[in-house]
Symmetry: C2
Subunit: 208 residues, 2 copies
DNA sequence: AGCGTCATGTAATGTGTTACATGATTCG
DNA sequence: CGAATCATGTAACACATTACATGACGCT
C-alpha cells in the first residue's frame, strides 16, 4: 500500500524545497551550516539528487539571472512533488525505521509538522515512541545475558543504546505533551511559490 | 599520519573476527540477532566485504568440513589484520565522527576495550565526550535563533539532537568513571587462534 | 513431502564519496 | 591583486540493497 521509501537525501531536499525554493548551493549551505550536517553536503551528492528529482517530476528548476554572468538554478516543488512528499511523510514508523533509519523519522516529523500539521506530526511521534518502548525491553533482556566476563565493553555499548532509546522516548513523549497543550490549528499554513527569499532557515534533527 | 577510515561494515567484521573466528553466516547472524542490527546483515554486503578483506590481507578463510557436503568457510584475522584494526581503533575522535559517524565511535570503543585495553577505550570516550561538549553550545546557540514563527518543528527536532548529544556525553562520562573505578589491567587478554567455538556474543552499540 | 534453517554466493542497480574542473564576484 | 566565497557541475570508484540462485540437512 504505502510507497517505498525514497533516499533520505531526496526526502530532505524535498522537504526543504517545500519550505521555500532553493538552489543547489543553498541546499549545500543548509547541510553544511545547520544541524542537518548528517547529510552529505557535497555537490557530488546534491546536484545529481536534484537532477533525479527533476527527472521524476518532483521538482522544477528555473534559471534565475539568465542574463547576468552568474546564473542560479532555483528549484521548487511541483504539485506531484508535494504529493510524493506527503506520501513519504505518511508512511508508518516501523521497527526498522528506529533501528536503522532513525534520522529519517526525525526528518519526517519536522516536515510533517509543517506540511501536514500537528496532528500528523503527533502520530509520527506516537508511533516512534511506541516502537521504542516495545524495543527497549528486548535490549534490556539482552543486557541481562551479558556477563562481566563475556564482553564488558559490549555491555557498556549496549547500555549506550538503551540510554539513547530512552532519551528518544522521553523526548517524544514530552513533545507530544507540548503539542497537545497548544491549540492545534489542524492544518499548517501552506507555502506557495513566493518569489525566492534568500533566507536560511536553520533546522534540526540529528545526523538526519 | 593516521590511516583513513575503512567502511564501518569492514570495521565491524574485523572487530568481531578479533574476538573469534567466524563464518560469513555467523556474522550474518550476529548482525541480525543482536543489537548490532544497524548493519546490513544481508549476504550481498557481508560476503563481498569478507572477500575484500581477504584480498587486502586482513583475514584468511579456511574451509572447514571440506570432506562433508556442507563446507563452511571460517575466517580469522591475520597479523596484518590485527595491525589494521589497531590503527583504526587508534584514530582520534573528530567532530565529523560524532556528527556523521557516531555509530563508528561506539564500535571503536567496544573493540578498543577488548583489543587494546581500558586505557585506549577511556581515551576514545574522553575524546568523544569532549567533542560533544564543544558541539553542544553551538547547537544551543542555533536553538536560540529559532523563533516560534520560523520553524516550530525544526525547534523540536533540534532539541532532539541536543537531548541525544547530552545523553551521549552523560553516558560517556559515567563509563569513564566506572572504568576508572576498577583496576585497569592495562592490556586485555589476547585472543589467539582457538579452534572455533560456536558461541554468539551479543554486543551493543546503537545502529552501528 | 514440504518447510525452515544452514550456508554460500552472484548480478543489477542505485547512490554516496572523493576528487577534480571551471569561472565570476567580493572583500581586504 | 590574491583569497575566500558564490555557483555549478562531472567522472571514477566504492559500497549497499535487492533480488535471485543453489543445495544439504533436520524435523514433522
Amino acid at each position: 500500500m504505502s510507497e517505498r521509501p525514497i533516499p533520505l537525501l531526496e526526502l530532505a531536499i524535498t522537504g526543504l524545497l517545500a519550505q521555500q525554493p532553493r538552489s543547489g548551493y543553498d541546499l549545500l549551505k543548509v547541510f553544511s551550516e545547520t544541524a542537518m550536517g548528517g547529510f552529505s553536503s557535497s555537490p557530488g551528492a546534491i546536484y545529481p539528487a536534484l537532477k533525479r528529482l527533476e527527472r521524476s517530476g518532483s521538482v522544477t528548476g528555473d534559471v534565475e539571472n539568465r542574463d547576468t554572468l552568474r546564473p542560479r538554478r532555483v528549484y521548487r516543488l511541483t504539485a506531484a512533488g508535494v504529493e510524493t512528499l506527503k506520501r513519504q511523510l505518511g508512511r508508518p514508523v516501523t521497527r526498522d525505521d528506529i533501528v536503522r533509519h532513525s534520522d529519517g523519522v526525525m526528518l519526517r516529523f519536522a516536515f510533517a509538522g509543517e506540511v501536514l500539521g500537528p496532528h500528523e506530526a503527533t502520530r509520527i511521534l506516537e508511533q516512534f515512541a511506541h516502537e521504542i518502548e516495545c524495543y527497549l525491553p528486548e535490549l534490556k533482556a539482552q543486557l541481562a545475558t551479558l556477563t562481566e566476563a563475556e564482553g564488558r565493553y559490549g555491555f557498556f555499548a549496549l547500555r549506550h543504546g538503551i540510554d539513547m532509546y530512552s532519551a528518544d522516548a522521553r523526548w517524544a513523549r514530552k513533545v507530544i505533551r507540548e503539542l497537545k497543550g497548544r491549540v492545534p490549528p489542524r492544518q499548517a499554513k501552506r507555502q506557495t511559490v513566493e518569489p525566492v527569499r534568500r533566507k536560511r532557515s536553520k533546522r534540526g534533527g540529528r545526523r538526519p
